[in-house]
């Protein structure tokens, strides 16, 4: 997809993600917005998928390891045509809604390849999917988006270790490196925010890009696919809350609901075309 069109899609799904949080009165807007450009680029440009056939055996797989960012995933799936008809009101986090607080494979949302919410698990699960693809001589790719905070979970590095050891070059992991976690910054919490160094130390093919530049995201995937023998890490420098002036780099928006006044700003900054 053309860059301008992709940027438009990313803006639209940002708006929809914040709208569902505003309407549902619950959710994590900051972490959703920081990975919006990555999710949009994957679904509208990179991934080999069939929205009308979400369980198609040969589809590329996607795992949002940072499950709390799911409003952007729900919005993107909806925009991409997974829901027929399109969902108007998501009823995010409401009793009986298919749009659960953290994504579930079995809540009824078409296109959710994996349940997440317990942080740190995406890479291990993605490695299993990638391993199965190779064992069955399938050429699908498995894409995982991790948060930078969840890289503190030990199982992450168990997965990183295994994926490299097994040469899973059909596994692509994006790290949404917005520099914040729930409470404070990554730096404050563990004293180091060196995502790329860590992946390189484990022998992964590692790239560092601007995670809001769709051209860079596309190019990084192209480079990853052309590099064999190792899994791929794409460390994305991002801004938590990206796209909304009142949210950007303000960690109070890790979880929160816009006021009516802020919703008016949201409509001005992200609404329309």
């Amino acid at each position: 997809m053309e860059t301008a069109a992709l940027q438009k899609v990313a803006r639209r799904v940002r708006f929809e993600a914040v709208r569902m949080i505003y309407e549902g009165k619950e959710g994590h807007p900051g972490p959703a917005l920081s990975c919006a450009d990555i999710v949009a680029t994957l679904y509208f440009d990179v991934m080999n998928i069939r929205p009308d056939q979400p369980d198609w055996e040969d589809r590329d797989r996607f795992i949002l390891s940072k499950g709390h960012g799911c409003p952007i995933w729900y919005a993107t799936l909806n925009e991409r045509g997974y829901n027929n008809p399109k969902v108007e009101h998501f009823h995010l986090r409401e009793l009986g809604s298919i749009f659960q607080g953290h994504p579930s494979m079995h809540s009824g949302v078409p296109g959710i390849d994996m349940t997440t919410g317990s942080l740190g698990n995406g890479i291990a699960i993605g490695a299993g999917m990638a391993y199965a693809a190779k064992a069955h001589h399938k050429d699908y790719y498995t894409y995982v988006i991790c948060g930078d905070g969840e890289m503190q979970e030990g199982v992450t590095w168990e997965g990183v270790n295994m994926a490299k050891g097994r040469g899973l070059d059909n596994l692509v992991v994006f790290v949404d490196n917005n520099g914040f976690q729930s409470y404070k910054t990554i730096e404050f919490t563990i004293g180091q925010n060196n995502m790329a160094d860590r992946f390189r130390a484990f022998g992964w093919h590692t790239q560092e890009i601007n995670g809001h530049d769709v051209e860079q995201i596309k190019a990084a995937v192209t480079i990853a696919k052309a590099t064999s023998g190792s899994p791929h890490a794409i460390i994305c420098r991002t801004v938590k809350g990206k796209g909304l002036s009142y949210m950007e780099n303000n960690n109070k928006w890790h979880k929160g609901v816009p006021t009516e006044e802020q919703w008016e700003i949201t409509k001005r900054e992200l609404g329309g075309e």
């Binding site: 698990n121 299993g128 391993y131 064992a135 270790n161």
Partner: protein, 313 residues
Amino acid sequence: MSVKKIPMRDGYGKALLELIAANPKVIALDADVAKSTRSGWVKDKFPDNFIDMGIAEQDLAGTAAGLALGGMLPFTSTYAVFMAGRAWDEIRTTICYNNLNVKIAGAHAGISVGPDGATHQALEDVAIMRVLPNMTVVCPCDAEETRKATLAFAKIDGPCYVRFGREAVPVVTDETTPFELGKARLCREGSDVAIIACGAMVYESLEAAKVLADENISAEVIDLHTVKPIDVDAVVAAAKKCGCVVTAEEHQIFGGMGSAVAECLAKNFPAPQEFIAIQDTFGESGQPQELMDAYGLNQSSIVAAAKKVIARK
């Protein structure tokens, strides 16, 4: 008379080989203890159907989930204390919540693992697996029953947990003994007390029943191999027939098979019950039989419990 003894894990290894010979999608995963769990037999015979995940139990569980979603049928194994304990979050949220077709084996369970001590004695695994929705939990009594349980797992869709010990234990079933998941096996008929056992305690219960018979006490013995889903009809029928129950298991008293039986009886047919189990304490190093005796997991404890519970009728 010497009793033939075989470790239950041999039954697990045998079953894996049978399953893979029939279905190449079956894949065994282990966490560096394949020799002990017998999943190493797969590595030797079907190397493409084996992954050693290294000492990384959480990764083992997560990767198994991914494999299941990729159309494979993973059987994971490591020591029960780490399999059920260390990977519990992944088993809960990634495997059980999604009802994924991942089979899980906890080896070296119970206090009889012996000299390794409390750190390696899984005495809580049945409780923490049983509490998970969608999970089937089996605690077989010997190698042959372990084999049958493992084979049966492959025939149902969804997560399953089987636990077995390290030691060679008496053979109480053979190839012709019927086995059905969820159906308790009546080992000996009786009318004064129902001894409901699982794992290695089934043999101990049968021996206890002989001792009780010498004292004119008629004990029924039931092998409740499937702890979840529990065979309500069999448990209730035994309690109705005998009027009291002894449960015997190599597990903590809280949350295991005995608790499952108590829950079932409380709801359907309240009856006096005595619990042969580890009494809310950690284990320690020692020889397997020494530990079983020291912690009251033997036939003489069952005999005493039977008399006690009969007196409570």
